[in-house]
Amino acid sequence: MATTTPVLPKLVGQRVKRREDPRLIQGLASYVDDIKVAGMQYLAFKRSDVAHGRITRIDTTAAAAMDGVEAVFTGAQIAEIVPPMPIGTPFPSPAHHAVAVDVVRYAGEPVAVVVARDRYVARDAADAIVVSYERLPAVVDLEQAMTGKPAVIHKDFANNLAVALVPGGTGVGADYSVDDTAINKAFAAAEVVISQRMVNQRLAPTAIEGRGVLAHYEPGRGTMTIWSSTQNPHILRTMIAAMNGLGQDQVRAIAPEVGGGFGAKINIYGEEYVAAAISKKLGVPIKWVEDRSEAFVATTHGRDILGYIDLAAKRDGTVLGLKLRLIADIGAYNMLLTAAIPTLTMLMANATYNIPAIRVTLTEVFTNKTPTDAYRGAGRPEATYFVERAMDMLARELNMDPADLRRKNFIQPYQFPFATQMGAVYDSGDYEKCMDLALKNAKWKELKAERDAAKAKGRLVGIGMAMYVEVCGLGPSSSLPTGGWEHSGVTIERDGRITATTGASPHGQGNETTFGQMLADQFGVPLEHVTILHGDTSIVKQGIGTFGSRSQAVGGTALHLAGGKVKAKMAKFAAALLEANEDDLVFENGRVFVKGAPASGKSFAEVAAYAYVPVPLPPGLEPGLSDEAFFEPANNTYPFGCHISMLEIDRETGEPKLLKLIAVDDAGNLINPLIVEGQIHGGLAQGIGQAMIEEVVYNSDGQLVTGSFMDYAIPRAIDFPRFELDFTCTPTPVNPLGAKGVGEAGTLGSTPCIVAAAVDALSEFGVKHIDMMLRPEKLWRIIHGGKS
């Protein structure tokens, strides 16, 4: 049989350069702030400069009188057109007004809104609003807050408890009844117990493009178009429609180019609701674009969980039990997913180990700070950090190699699917293989020798390692109030080009490239002939969005399924055209032909053209080549990895310097290793940022001290060594692609492996644990004062 040499390479699995980048780096992309609608007016928010206070007076007279000011609204006036904001979690929650009514609960909370002809007038007018407050005590310290002191922030939430203790793990019934037998037994049998209080500090997501919204209500049509820098335009559409008394058919939500989200652009914010409601009320387009000072106070923060961990083990390293008491600082209000994020920390407390007994409790606490919500990793880096730090402490206590300790306790490949005590079902994994590759790449033995040699010379050099497993590919519809599926549409155009839509809403993930690669392979056409559309609810019929490392595993699968449906139909047209059996057809090199006889086939474009002018129309077929698919995953995916670092601390100054970072990640099948590496790089950067230089700091009055890039450090290229990346591949059975998701992975392994290296570097001072960030002064105190 004659064979053909493929002219078009198969693209899935290849290092294809991102198709998005030329427009992004040449300034040819349009973000919300680039979009203009005739007649649009601008919003500015007057924000509270106290963390907790009763509004005694708002004087808007001067602002309203300014030239160019269209309208001024106080919180009470906004409350007439914007109902309290809904949340996406089932927990009880206090009313949260988009603009504060009577009481402000964090510095930066909006208290009034100005509508003006440009953003400059709007800003000046906001400054001209005079607000008086009766100051109330600011609740800043998390553990003090739990005692109801110095104040109770929401009157129906005694002791500032937002979500009271939710027990989880061994011996916990579905009704939260608790049987302590197993956990007590584990700790009674322990030969060694590690106990440590750990802080997973608050971070600011700091996307380079801040938030922004343009709402355009057209009274004549009764429809709303809303552009927003969001990760999930379909959720935005649902919420904007519900909040404005409109049907979902009457709202079009558009996420244009989005310059990063990192989880903070999942939430639908008050500014979006206010812009939409004012546009509807005044009948004019309304734009608001966040500035950087606002972003620090008005965009949700991430992390901020305190963990009290106890790890019980035998002296041979066998882990017997884990207790983890989590206290999450959720800030002043519940946002869309706020309350759910720390539950992911609970869910992942089982980590990569066989732990006979686990008990996790979680308390979520209100404070007078900016609300928290998802931030890259969202609950999973916290779980990884707590458990991996405890494992590292145990290894140190037992004088065991940290890799050997992990090896002794790993969940074994034959145990998958592995149902954890926390309710997760790990889909697939081979943790030992992954760790072994990381140890090999790091030259673990030599690395230790290198560290020892450096220490012998008086240098403070340390090495650290960490394993992680995360939950990605969110998820079955039971796990998300929006539904957990994703949607895609694929159309073969008349000229043989392909247009596809996805409900995933990429904002840096590169799905235009990876999805293009998939369809190019599926149909045997050039990548340049495929266009991926996203981010517009009037073009993309349905969707959930991009978060939880789900776009490839869930969105990619929906695309694959939709493509398969269209391909099957196209094969029927081709079969008719070629007088062949559709099952014998091959799509390759831009042609459709009978297997083994490429010369006798038709070009892909010829078949497409026939489908749109079907003379004669094959029996049983409708004209055209367009179909769609929803993909509902049966489970989440559970990627994993092993990260190793080497770090040196300056003995005189305490300054840490990261010398090496070796990562081996397993995200299942990779569509595009180049993009995957980019995602790992970004995740590592933010993980290293958390470990070493990032920390949101409030003073005792609840004022944000790190309110600008002069005081809040974000990592830059010069902060890193060259990352050494590698992969193992354990495909997931959850989707036909075998892909697990990788967007957040880098944030998980990096923090515990870096802190472990810092503790190792300072081992001569007897330090057992250091809370992040690794502030030079903190390390200097350990070196020079012997305390942590």
Partner: protein, 284 residues
Amino acid sequence: MISTAFEYQRANSLDEAIKKLQETGGRGKLLAGGHSLVPLMKLRMSEPGILIDIARIPGLAGIREKDGKIEIFAATVHHDVASSALLAEKCPVVAETAGEIGDPQVRNRGTLGGSLAHSDPSADYPAVMLAVDAEIHLKGPKGWRIVKASDFFQDLFTVDLAADEIIGGVQFAAVKSAGYAKLHQRASGYAIVGVAAALDVKGGVITSARLGLTGAGSHATRMTNVEKALAGQPLSAKTIEAAAKIAGEGIKHVNADIHASEEYRRAMIPVFTKRALEKAMARS
């Protein structure tokens, strides 16, 4: 991050700029690189009614050697100082200091004159100007006036510069055996503590020394006790170590913020004094 409204004017000569300063009274503010002023304006901590742009005044930027002295004109951006071949050869500490300021974007816009006039307590340039014993050349309505760097920096954001005066440039004798060492604040890049040290060495003996300290107090200062301890001593690691130990002694007020407590900052003064001196020794 939106400033209040302001008027923009551009001056084409120092005299024109001075005239504009006089005409605008207290409302006019000079703009060169804008890397101190513009952030303050965006935070509305500075609300000048009129900006007088002096960045493009002909002859106000450049580095040259004249009569055995180095001259750097006020509108020279940090990048040009950092990459100057003349400075690298004759007085590397100044180029080194400029290269430690902020990040590439800042160094491509920020100017020497702007940094000196603003006198941020954590700025890098003031320390090195003290160490090279620079003369700061100021022009006012009555002509030129020369102020020694050691007299120029007076207090927090306060320098010996009248409201109608402009820095034209600095002049100093090149000194090779000099170094700058700083502890970086990781967010801003400013010095938590920065020390510039310059040594005059003859026949292996330190004849005189000048040390400028920034970041620790309200403004950059000379560390005269260290200078005295070094003078007349043989140039050696031992000398440096001994002299560095007393660095910071007797300083009454030391800054504290979230990045560094007073105790830590005080401890860092001898550390970075030693490092600056070691660099100076390596270049001698």
